[in-house]
């Protein structure tokens, strides 16, 4: 699966990290996404257009599994009309327990209990321009879509990548089979030696048997 990420922005990072890892250990890399990752968007497109039409999420998965969405911390009731703006933060979660969890469900019976913070349906005047969005995946959605996004390619802050490999170098063992940094192959241990630039890094991880 490939995420259709246009490189039409001059701000896009020229730095890229590509990893091939063992299939059995692929899930260990999902932790890279714990604090969120970045994608290109077309400003003004709806959450649903972004995730289903451009990124290619299955519509029934989107409708049924992703029950809780936040755009800039505001619960979204209608993803087909909630428009994404440049530098927005989009968080995706499965249905949540508890009364308060239930209030955040899109269009749920209890949505009125948090009415004062709901995301307004809107459109954006800068529609059409390319921009950035930060995506956070939580709980079952992280587990299920994390691999999809890692394989498709995403942008991460360099500190996030650096901290992940520093903290987990011991537990990743022989999971990493191949690494390329900025187009050139390096040894797996070389990731810890990279001098990370202070800008988002394009990262893509595939698994192989």
């Amino acid at each position: 699966m490939h995420i259709n990420q246009e490189s039409a922005t001059g701000e896009a990072s020229q730095h890229g990290l590509f990893l091939a890892v063992t299939a059995a250990d692929f899930h260990k890399f999902v932790g890279l996404l714990n604090t969120g990752f970045m994608l290109n968007i077309r400003v003004g497109e709806s959450v649903q257009t972004l995730l289903c039409d451009r990124i290619g999420l299955d519509k029934s998965y989107f409708d049924e599994r992703i029950q809780t969405l936040f755009l800039n911390s505001k619960p979204v009731d209608d993803p087909a009309t909630a428009a994404v703006k440049n530098n927005a933060i989009l968080a995706l979660s499965a249905a949540m327990p508890g009364l308060v969890g239930a209030t955040f469900r899109k269009g749920g019976t209890y949505r009125w209990m948090r009415g004062s913070i709901s995301h307004p349906d809107d459109s954006d005047t800068a529609a059409g321009k390319v921009g950035w969005i930060t995506v956070k995946l939580f709980n079952l959605i992280l587990k299920e879509l994390g691999p999809f996004f890692l394989e498709g390619g995403i942008w991460l802050r360099s500190e996030t990548i650096q901290a992940f490999f520093k903290e987990r170098s011991g537990s990743l063992g022989d999971a990493i089979q191949y690494v390329s940094w900025n187009g050139g192959e390096i040894v797996p241990g070389g990731i810890l030696e990279i001098e990370w630039p202070d800008e988002p890094i394009y990262i893509k991880i595939i698994h192989q048997n």
């Binding site: 327990p97 209990m113 913070i117």
Partner: protein, 580 residues
């Protein structure tokens, strides 16, 4: 369940146990039983720690049967924390075991003549009580080890730690889990202090030689129970989310929503939330304890299994998986983002016998009062040690957020009816604020936890767009919750019965199959309403007025980031919650 054990602590010649038939309390269980006994037998103006208060421990109506999820137990009394009626609910093994022993309630009343400490044993041959001062000031863990050595590894314990003996208003009552550890607690409202005031340290429950409670209509019951379990398993919350991550799955989501009270309710988002999230916690537990460590039941018969096991850095058992409210209270609310420190605090709470929500909220208030710095985990651990040791500072903290706020001159004290507010900011989620303000229990997130009005058919379809809609939702939720608390069912079944009409019907059929009586949604509603009415009447007689059904003023005057909202439900709207 055909009897009540009445423990008369002040009887001439020492405590006596009298076995009584159910009488007026026939057919009741859980919160229906505890609130009925307290409302009928406890003088509302009595001192909560005096001889006139009674402590009632009651298994749910379905406990001891094969009904899934039915092992919850209720503890009731006049609360030393709120001064009103209290029902605190717990998991653990004792509910099923007491029910199989035929015991619908243990009512502990009176007060012993001196400070002798007692232990009680209930088994198939009856119940007995004896003095045992060797148990004084033991932590719950050491106490249970001692009971295991004396009574074997099959018994369950209901006990208090040093906090209960010191009659602290944050003291809990511990119930042992499937591994005979004192990890499940009736936490809220200082019920442990009432047990301490009665001089009762522990009740040992031994159900050897008893059988499961059988339903009146076995075929109907069995088929309904099967459908009920299938409904729980197929729902994404009860079948997947809760088993995988526990209730702490809420941390990331509530934080993202800006409703995560941080640094004593001063802001709505915590920078360290992802480090203490359910996702991070489950990964840590499964890494340290092996795959599956993050999924465990708090009692036999639970099919959701929202709990888990937390292993320390050394790989040894430290505590059960801390719940969302605990992780919030000791974590984000105190600016602490270290799961190991939070687990350590949870273990200490369980050992001293303290409510984790009250203690986390109290330490947050103390931090605001300058006693320690937000984010200082070591200081939080030291403060909790002081509570366990009963130092002067510890005694202040052990009496909760309200007392602590007063002592340290803190204005932002997040309590209603003197009970600390749990992990959801009522400015971001105004509907929960209505429940916090108006519940009979003091700020309590579980009071309005369950089932939609539209499923139960209470008062027709709610229109939440109108201001009164929030009030109506809260009212209906409180009614349904009170009813579920009476069955012995875990409230977490709510998510499946909320979304799946057939699972709600299966629950009604389980009840009807067990009792042999018809059971409709209206019956459940009537049960909930009658419990709430009794509780409201008790509180009114104890001196509560509508002025007590309010949130602290700062929620109306201090906007919370990131949404910059204040609590906007009017007093008139709050006063209409109990118009039924």
């Amino acid at each position: 369940m055909d009897k009540i054990l009445r423990v008369k602590m002040g009887a001439d010649g020492g405590p006596q146990i009298v076995v009584e038939p159910l009488g007026d309390y026939a057919g009741m269980g859980g919160r229906a039983m505890t609130s009925a006994v307290v409302a009928k037998e406890v003088p509302p103006l009595c001192h909560p720690l005096g001889a006139d208060n009674k402590l009632v421990i009651a298994p749910g109506m379905l406990s001891g049967s094969a009904a899934a999820m039915s092992g919850r137990i209720s503890v009731g009394c006049k609360s030393p924390l709120t001064g009103g009626i209290k029902e605190a609910n717990s998991g653990g093994q004792p509910s099923q075991m007491l029910a199989r022993l035929g015991c619908a309630a243990i009512v502990i009343e009176g007060r012993p003549a001196d400070d002798t400490l007692y232990k009680m044993v209930v088994n198939k041959d009856g119940a007995k009580i004896e003095a045992d001062n060797s148990l004084k000031m033991l932590g719950n863990y050491d106490l249970v080890e001692k009971m295991k050595a004396a009574y074997g590894d099959k018994v369950a314990c209901i006990s208090i730690g040093p906090a209960g003996e010191m009659k602290m208003s944050a003291a809990s009552i511990a119930f042992t889990d499937m591994e005979q550890r004192p990890t499940r607690h009736a936490g809220r409202g200082g019920v442990g202090a009432v047990m301490g005031s009665k001089g009762l340290k522990v009740i040992v429950v031994d159900d050897e030689g008893t059988a499961r409670r059988e339903p009146a209509d076995p075929d109907k019951f069995k088929a309904a129970n099967k459908a009920f379990v299938a409904g729980l398993k197929k729902h994404p919350v009860t079948g997947e989310g809760l088993p995988a991550y526990g209730t702490n799955v809420l941390t990331n989501v509530i934080n993202e929503a800006g409703g995560y009270p941080t640094n004593n309710f001063s802001t709505g988002q915590f920078a360290g939330a992802s480090k203490i999230s359910g996702e991070a916690q489950a990964e840590l537990e499964n890494t340290r304890g092996g795959e599956g460590s993050a999924t465990h039941g708090c009692h036999r018969g639970c099919v959701i299994r929202c709990s888990g096991t937390f292993y320390g850095k050394n790989g040894n058992f430290l505590t059960k998986q801390p719940e969302y409210e605990t992780v919030w209270a000791h974590g984000g609310n105190c600016g602490i983002d270290d799961l190991d420190a939070i687990a350590e605090l949870d273990r200490m709470d369980d050992d001293f016998g303290l409510d984790t929500i009250e203690m986390g909220a109290t330490i947050g208030v103390a931090m605001e009062g300058g006693v320690a710095k937000f984010g200082d985990a070591e200081a939080a651990i030291n403060l909790l040690k002081e509570v366990g040791q009963g130092t002067p500072l510890g005694r202040i903290l052990g009496n909760g957020a309200s007392v602590t706020g007063q002592v340290f001159g803190v204005e932002r004290v997040p309590v209603v009816k003197r009970q600390a507010m749990p992990a959801y900011d009522p400015r971001s989620v105004q509907g929960i604020g209505v429940t916090y303000a108006t519940t009979t229990m003091g700020a309590d997130h579980t009071a309005g936890y369950s089932v939609t009005a539209n499923v139960l058919g209470v008062g027709g379809n709610v229109d939440g767009t109108k201001p009164e809609g929030q009030v109506e939702l809260s009212r209906n939720l409180q009614i349904a919750t009170a009813a579920i608390d009476a069955t012995g069912m875990c409230l977490f079944i709510a998510f499946a019965i909320l979304d799946q009409a057939e699972t709600f019907q299966a629950l009604l059929d389980v009840l009807s199959g067990f009792t042999g009586q018809p059971c409709t949604a209206d019956d459940v509603t009537d049960l909930g309403k009658s419990i709430l009415k009794q509780e409201r009447e008790f509180n009114a007689a104890a001196g509560f007025t509508s002025k007590d059904d309010r949130l602290p003023a700062f929620f109306k005057t201090e906007p919370i980031a990131p949404h910059d909202v204040t609590f906007g439900v009017s007093d008139e709207e709050l006063d209409s919650v109990f118009n039924f």
